[in-house]
Symmetry: C2
Subunit: 478 residues, 2 copies
């Protein structure tokens, strides 16, 4: 008995070195797994009795997209923090809101972020943040997506960062509490929802906690066989803190204490020197690059192409947060990632379409330590699949010779709205562009109300902080 | 009698220095012009009898987007030319097709390109190319869009560029013929279709024709009061040619012969030094920047922010061609333009959302010399308007305080598919996302057939040219 048969499609399997295209391809799914992949005539004859048959003529089937570093719970602040100097982003455009964000706001934000991302083809979320157990239970599990989650651990309290030029004051009790929460998350949710939920440890960043706690987390991760997902070399504030405390750079410091190995997923790394990027690659660190977010917040292209050229094995894309990106759309992220890296290195051959599609799928899954489980369309893998309609002016014509243009057109011309069907773990969670597992209207309405609640309370603090953006608003430019 | 009333909208008028927002705004249109703009209650009472009333609650109304440098006739080659070294793009991925492109292919390509662009909100096309009279008559006029067109003039024949390291051989008769065609285009079509068509002179580039012909074109433009639209400093091949011929750079050469003034629209300029960009700004040259195209073809961010910082008065965005971009979507182009310039200068404050929206509308129109006629929503201006539905997860929430987030969300999160209605010169050319002036199915089908005709003939030449992309195809990566 087969549950789903998709046929007559361009199947981008991601097998082999490229996109692994099968023209007139078919995929059969039984329960949560892919049970057959091949040419339609070969596959169809054995699986005519499927419950759901998708005729995907003129459509592409891809592995679900992986957004490997994302904070969906901040989606409510979309459009309130950009076009400001790096130093202002956290202090003058994000911080004013933070005091007014309640746990229920994070859940409403996460629902909105997941809805947005699913609609543009994301099936796997590398989510880091606070209140993760709640977000797993109330958002990731019911929405049907796959998530690799970590509660952020740090020792930062409201009094920690009075003066950014002095070492932050750490609060041990806060660190203990956050570590306890992290361990509870893992205990309760790792492997839950038929394996859709994977838990990790999330030390926030090297400047946000003591060396002792960093090392404790590292040891727990090792002993439990869990990955660590950590922000690394994420900007000027971090660099100042690490210099003050340890007299070196973040990456040198973390390497000195033995932090870097295949057990670590490092996000960002845009403050790294070329040598430090090479060091990360050499240590086998997994890298998540968030080009739009870091482009918008820092005006920097993070070193994705450089990491790969340095021998880095696993790299993924992340959309980070909607208050600094400002969207969760891996289809759009692929073009931006490619262009920012091409111009960073003044080399148009860098990150070609086929490669960036792999980074957004199989290599993204591998970065999260789950490349054996999903991320490509192969027999035995979890059925995380998206169907994309290519019948649109901006994806026309479809050419097979001399060069098959489907992969370039998806990367450089698609926008995300072409995704019609999303399947995760063998379940159809979106069909005909409607998400079946969420009430779209309600999610948007509740997000709107929650955002208004936060922003109306924070408006005065925000304007007082007087960022470039606040100034532009005051001048009526927006 | 009023033809169109749009009410209850967020109206981004582009009046003043910023986006000129009117919340709960309305716009009334009579024949081809805007006759009233203001708050809905004030406007509505006088215009209840309009033929078409759009209730745009939860929607944004903007001036139609301006794509100021575009070659829609090359749309059929989408996805066949990218991820290759700059030197290969023209010679190894474009040239193999060029011998097989017939005039009818250009028309079918142009229809597809216009359809694609209109669907993402473009109302004005700065089209440069061959067979322009045909494209005007068969594509721009019937599709209902606004176009500023020029036939390219050059003295290049099939024998001209045997050796890229020797000066190109110019053919006077080719130049004469192309100049004649250009003048005929102007005579026949300038001001046609109720003023929707504006003609310019299009000397191809400084390396593609003799100094004498360049100057003749310049003088004709002056005497007829027409703008010149020319590719300037567009890459390595041009730089070599100008050096060989004149012993200097393109911009120095053109300045030496008195080419630069407010009568010139210069496209690209990515081969310009900072001083040369400043020179262009000082001379009052109008600049069209094509960030995605030049990013993809050359791995370079063209100097849009630098031009503006140097005092450049008029700047616009262009999508260039679908074989090197690979899309005609100004909504997406805005985000990429902002990000590429932010990272070029390592400054996240560069090209903020409100500014890039102005560049895509009123400043784009001004770059084409028509800022007094359209590009903003003001009484007396031509009614080129788009209505964009903001009710989508990726544009939620809508916040008015502390910072109105509609402009940032349009620039950094929209994708183009939110455009529902397109009005040009007071005529509705798209409604409910369907283009009324074109048969979408037929345009796509004919484009597909034409593309197959070209690519099947060219496939052997293309593979023999052995570009990076051909190699990737041969390896099965695509």
């Amino acid at each position: 008995m087969v549950d789903i048969l998709i046929k007559n499609a361009y199947v981008l399997t991601m097998r082999g070195e490229g996109v692994g295209m099968i023209e007139d391809g078919a995929v059969a799914v039984e329960r949560d797994r892919i049970v057959a992949v091949g040419k339609t005539p070969d596959i169809e004859k054995n699986y005519r009795g499927a419950d759901h048959i998708f005729d995907a003529k003129g459509k592409a089937v891809l592995p679900g997209l992986v957004d490997a570093h994302i904070h969906t719970s901040l989606t409510l602040l979309r459009g309130e923090a950009q076009d400001v100097p790096e130093i202002e982003w956290m202090l003058k455009t994000m911080a004013p809101f933070m005091n007014y964000i309640e746990p229920e706001h994070r859940i409403k934000g996460a629902k909105l972020g997941v809805l947005e991302a699913v609609k543009s083809g994301t099936t796997c979320f590398g989510e880091i943040g606070s209140d993760m157990a709640q977000i797993v239970e109330k958002v990731f599990i019911p929405s049907g997506v796959r998530a690799c989650v970590a509660n952020t651990i740090n020792e930062i309290g409201p009094e920690s960062r009075q003066d950014p030029n002095k070492p932050y004051i750490f609060f041990k009790d806060i660190g203990e509490e956050k570590l306890r929460e992290s361990l509870e998350l893992i205990e309760r949710w790792n492997g839950a929802a038929e394996g859709r939920i994977t838990c990790m440890l999330g030390p926030h960043a090297a400047d946000m906690m003591s060396k002792e706690l960093l090392l404790r987390v590292k040891n727990i991760a090792k002993s439990k066989g869990l990955l660590i997902h950590i922000h690394v070399a994420q900007g000027g504030r971090e660099a100042i803190q690490i210099r003050l405390k340890y007299g070196t750079s973040t990456i040198r410091f973390l390497d000195d204490i033995g932090y870097f190995d295949e057990g670590v997923i490092a996000a960002h790394c845009h403050q790294a020197s070329d040598e430090e990027v090479a060091l990360l690659a050499r240590r086998g660190v997994r890298y998540v690059s968030c080009p739009s977010s870091i482009g918008l917040i820092d005006g920097i292209t993070p070193p994705l192409a450089l990491f790969l050229a340095s021998g880095g094995k696993y790299a993924a894309l992340g959309s980070d947060q909607a208050s600094g990106n400002n969207s969760h759309n891996i289809i759009k992220e692929m073009k931006i990632a490619s262009f920012l890296n091409k111009t960073r290195h003044r080399d148009p051959t860098i990150l070609p379409a086929w490669k960036i599609l792999r980074i957004a799928t199989i290599e993204g899954a591998s970065t999260l330590g789950l490349g054996d489980a999903f991320g490509s369309i192969e027999v035995g893998k979890k059925a995380d699949l998206i169907i994309m309609n290519l019948k649109a002016p901006h994806l026309t014509p479809i050419i097979s010779k001399p060069v098959r243009n489907i992969a370039p057109n998806i990367v450089y011309s698609a926008r995300g709205d072409e995704i019609e069907t999303v399947i995760v773990n063998g379940k159809i969670i979106m069909e005909n562009k409607r998400v079946l597992t969420m009430n779209e209207e309600k999610v948007m309405l509740e997000a709107q109300e929650a955002a208004e609640a936060i922003t109306s309370k924070a408006a005065e603090d925000y304007m007082r902080a007087d960022s470039h953006l606040a100034k532009a608003a005051r001048k009526g430019l927006l």
